[in-house]
Point group: C2
Chain length 347, copies 2
């Protein structure tokens, strides 16, 4: 896995493609990135464009089959290369389609959202949703190259930026008090992202070090699940109620709930917990629920993909930079944490 | 990749499963092996059986989706294990389904045909047919264990046995004159296969050494394509004419044609060529075609998956055990070789 950080995306892409001498170049985009981003990259002007509809609801085996068909039609061989240009749906599905076509052709990820840059595009997880379950079908397969830039972020909706920022906060919590303070002093919605490439680089490199040490998620990589047990449950609840929230919004709230648990179990410092809760409350706002929703939330947590035998499993923190994986959390403790989350978020 | 050779299949499976302590066990079979082989393995009596229709025409994404659905329904987790019990369709498709479910659960291959034992089950190639092309979608993923036995072979149709035997002859040609002579002195259709486990072990180990040295087919592994450029074309022609032949029958004829080419290009010894041709003629019989079929055959060869830029690409032999990959063969030379094949086969 090679990750390059640059705001000269087109030049870099051109040199990668020249070096690899592929028999042909395919570019996978969704209808947004095909319209808005692809024209900004002249190095891909002669590539065969494969365009899929935007949105997580299209991250399916049917879309994958359409991509395979178009790869066939374009005469793709093992010497071809596919550039995945988009957010997490495009890089996840594109990586899956490329890695299974003729038993695998190389692909380059060019994330166009902050969330994809700091989360989906690097790390080797590819996949699609199946049977109502997220990323249920897929495989571990690394992009040949990941090109991370921030030049595409200034046109992102504010919610999209915040969604990615939640994963950056998670990475900071897994690293150091200083990193966490730096991020929570910024205003992510109004910052000039073109100048923020070094900040994104720091965040991606945190993830990258963890993934390199444990590519197949047997241990250390599970620290990256911080915030995601409660977060996925909150995301699923919101979806079920017909008022979906972004992944990052749910994760931000999940980080607060799991920081509360970290305080309960490992005495995670109160000042850090309060700072996190204030940042999430002020910048994201709470995802609202009452104690009547706890049974549904707990149910989602028991059925999380990471659960091994039906128990609620969380990554928790002793301190910033000191995470503990595989904590089994009782329904009572999680309910208490959700109570305190609601207090902290003022709901 | 661990391969075990034993005719005590059930005991071994039981000990593997006990050692792995899976959360549950799934067994994939086709409707033949579910009826005829599964009842012989009490260690799988409590496993969840997933049964697919027999035949290469069912090696599809639709069948794969049905397998994924049934894995879901069985509550499969990353701690589950899938046993693939069958011929090459079951081990190829099962390996693909398992390797992409929740980004990969472990699988054990138990080949029940000679062809699957010596070819499909070991080596890490998984896949399905797509868009009319064989094994077009798939990935490299090794079975956790491959259990090779010969106890299932005595009930195989003679054509099935011969089909696998052609791959054994290929392995012998890639190894030594002695191995080749040993195999061509036997009567594969009438031998007692229960006693032939050591012979199968030798053959699988030849392939295994080659695969271990080059798992992703960048060089050495392409020696295993011996006989397959002409063989696949012959197989495709027979299929197109509505008179399909087994894979191994086509490969046996392909080995003859490519041994002729080997003689033309590298002076592969005449006595070995004649011995091979006589064995194939007497035990398999020729796949018949005339010079009117050459354009179709050449067309198939130019479109072979292994072709890099449309040329005909063959692995050829200098001697037994001395293979040369990536020989570009002209249409004229291939046509001459097909002429001589027809002479040698008496058609």
């Amino acid at each position: 896995m090679a990750i390059t950080f640059t705001n000269h995306v087109d030049e870099l892409l051109k040199s990668f493609i020249d070096d690899m001498q592929p028999s042909n170049v395919l570019v996978l985009a969704d209808d947004n990135t095909a319209r808005q981003v692809l024209p900004r990259l002249p190095s891909l002007a002669t590539a065969t464009a494969i365009v899929i509809p935007a949105g997580d609801c299209h991250k399916t085996i049917d879309t994958t089959c359409q991509v395979w068909q178009q790869m066939e039609a374009a005469g793709a061989t093992r010497n071809s290369i596919m550039v995945c240009l988009g957010g997490g749906v495009v890089t996840d599905l594109g990586g899956f389609a490329a890695s299974t076509f003729k038993r695998g052709i190389p692909f380059i990820n060019v994330p166009t959202t902050l969330l994809a840059a700091v989360d989906a595009a690097a790390g080797g997880k590819t996949g699609i949703n199946y049977s109502g379950l997220k990323n249920e079908i897929g495989l571990f397969s690394h992009a040949r190259q990941v090109v991370v830039s921030t030049i595409f972020f200034d046109t992102l909706p504010q919610q999209e930026v915040l969604s990615g920022y939640a994963e950056m906060i998670k990475h900071a919590l897994l690293t150091s008090r200083e990193d966490f303070f730096e991020l929570t002093e910024l205003e992510p919605a109004t910052v000039d992202w073109c100048e923020m490439l070094p900040l994104v680089e720091t965040s991606v490199n945190i993830k990258n070090r963890i993934v390199a040490a444990d590519p197949h998620e047997h241990g250390l990589r599970r620290t990256l699940n911080l915030g995601h047990t409660a977060g996925h449950a909150i995301e699923s609840l919101a979806l079920q109620r017909g008022t979906p929230v972004t992944h990052g919004h749910a994760v931000a709230c999940g980080l607060v709930a799991e920081a509360v648990l970290s305080h309960m179990v490992f005495k995670f410092p109160t000042d850090l917990l309060n700072r996190l809760a204030a940042f999430v409350r002020d910048h994201y706002g709470p995802v609202r629920f009452t104690c009547n929703d706890y049974p549904a939330l707990l149910q989602f947590m028991h059925h999380d993909k990471k659960s091994r035998s039906g128990e609620i499993n969380c990554t928790l923190l002793r301190l910033c930079g000191d995470a503990v994986i595989d904590n089994v959390v009782s329904d009572d403790d999680m309910s208490t944490a959700l109570d305190i989350y609601r207090d902290l978020m003022g709901i």
